[in-house]
């Protein structure tokens, strides 16, 4: 496949709103941050990380960018995705903090876990209006499939 064709193919996925496909570019940018996440699948590393997060990152994963390290320290889940982390690798970091996929999704969507969970119980997020960035000015709709309710606000 031609170089330009491959770039165009990747660009087509970038037109899907709220989606950061883990492609070769993100894999290249995210190698060190993902390997950091993966290191947390060992108990001794989890303990060492939790004892001094910044030192663990700086010493063992010096290849990470300062933005990636900020995202870890500030629990900026969406920022991690945008800077090349992959959700499956991030799940090890989440688990180390006692956080589930659903918690991370609630944070990444800005809805918070309770509102996000309620949307899922109500049939999940609609597809209509969420296929292309041009559908809705790049914003992702938080409308549920069953009752068509808007779950964009965090539950009180």
């Amino acid at each position: 496949m031609e170089y330009a064709e491959i770039q165009a193919l990747k660009q087509a996925f970038e037109e899907v709103p709220g989606t950061y496909l883990f492609n070769a570019d993100r894999c290249r940018a995210g190698y060190h941050i993902n390997m950091f996440c993966m290191s947390l699948s060992k108990d001794e590393n989890r303990k060492e990380f939790l004892a001094d997060e910044a030192t663990y990152l700086a010493n063992k994963f010096s290849g990470t960018t300062s933005e990636q390290r900020r995202c870890v320290l500030e629990r900026d889940w969406l920022g991690l995705i945008k800077s090349g982390a992959n959700i499956y690798y991030m799940s090890k970091f989440g688990a180390t903090l006692g956080k589930s996929f659903q918690y991370m999704a609630g944070e990444m969507t800005g809805q918070g876990q309770d509102s996000y969970r309620a949307m899922m119980v109500d049939g999940g997020r609609v597809v209509a209006g969420n296929r292309n960035k041009k559908d809705n000015g790049g914003k992702v709709l938080c409308i549920s499939n069953i009752s068509k309710q808007d779950f964009s606000k965090k539950a009180q």
Binding site: K10, A12, F13, V16, P17, G18, T19, Y20, L21, F22, N23, A24, C27, Y31, N34, M35, C37, M38, L40, S41, K42, D43, R46, L78, I81, N86, I87, Y88, Y89, S91, K92, F93, G94, A95, T96, S100, F101, Q102, M104, A105, M108, T109, G110, Y116, M119, M120, V121, G123, G124, R125, V126, V127, N130, R131, N132, V140, N145
Partner: protein
């Protein structure tokens, strides 16, 4: 001779494993999902396969970004449950079928599928959750398992059609093995779900229903679904459904649907389960 007698499509949501592990299967949130599993378990118990080939993906548990095989096969005698950040799941060790796995490896490579051979492979929720769904909580799994790991994490992932053809090649390999073995094949993952970015939580019941229907009615449509359509219509992580194509490609044209169960939500995901049996075996 060995033969493939049935295919099973199953989601592999980690939260389903956690619900098993934490005794939440009767919880009001989980019960409607778990109520759909005993019928499948009963069928599998009667069917008594010797071996299950489980097509799944590793989620950064045993296979890291250090090496990313597109297609890998586990040839070991056993596979330990992986630590995914919470400590390993307390599920039985997965026993392999090394002799058949090595034969499949030889046959696949000679058939132009250049497999990565895994002699050590810790298996994560992608493989153990479908085992729980179809076998329940047991002291040991009732059959040997050959893991086939597909990269569906880093794009480009293999096309649905390529996965289908891998399934066809697996069927040829199994059928040329001289021992009498009854083999079932699992395709795991899906169904519609997205678990990253602001679009997390997207669910598409009509897409999933048509997918389940067309496994028997029109599988030729499914094998041609482009990646972009999966991402738009079934969510970015719904791409896992290409692994169901390997399962379907390993079956013949003459199959029938035995059972299906579909429930929204299992955490972030539309959970699907289907059993497809060969008409004649």
């Amino acid at each position: 001779m060995a033969k493939i007698t049935a295919g099973i499509g199953s989601s592999h949501v980690p939260a389903i494993g956690a619900a098993f592990d934490q005794g939440l299967t009767e919880d009001p949130y989980w019960k409607p999902l778990f109520d759909g599993y005993p019928a499948a378990r009963e069928w599998l118990k009667q069917h008594k396969p010797d071996v299950a080939i489980i097509v799944y993906n590793d989620h950064g548990s045993a296979i890291s970004l250090e090496s990313i095989p597109t297609f890998a096969i586990g040839v070991a005698d056993e596979f330990q449950p992986a630590d995914e950040g919470w400590g390993p799941r307390k599920v039985p060790v997965v026993k392999g079928h090394s002799k058949l796995a090595w034969h499949i490896t030889e046959s696949l490579i000679l058939n132009e599928f250049d497999m990565t051979v895994m002699s050590k492979l810790d298996v994560d929720h992608g493989l153990t959750v479908p085992l729980n769904i179809t076998c329940g909580q047991v002291d040991e799994w009732p059959f040997a398992v050959i893991p086939i790991a597909v990269n569906v994490v880093m794009f480009p992932v293999p096309s649905g059609d390529r996965c289908w053809r891998l399934g066809e090649a697996i069927r040829k390999a199994v059928e040329s093995f001289p021992e009498d073995l009854k083999v079932v094949i699992f395709g795991t993952g899906g169904m519609s779900h997205q678990i990253h970015g602001e679009r997390s939580g997207m669910i598409n019941r009509p897409f999933d229903t048509a997918f389940l229907d067309d496994l028997t009615r029109n599988p030729e449509r499914l094998r041609k679904i482009p990646h972009l359509e999966f991402v738009k219509e079934s969510g970015a992580e719904g791409i896992e459904m290409v692994m169901w194509m390997t399962m379907r490609g390993a079956l013949s044209k003459n199959i029938h649907e035995v059972y299906r169960h579909y429930h929204i939500p299992a955490s972030n995901t539309a959970a699907g389960l289907i059993i497809l049996e060969e008409d004649n075996y």
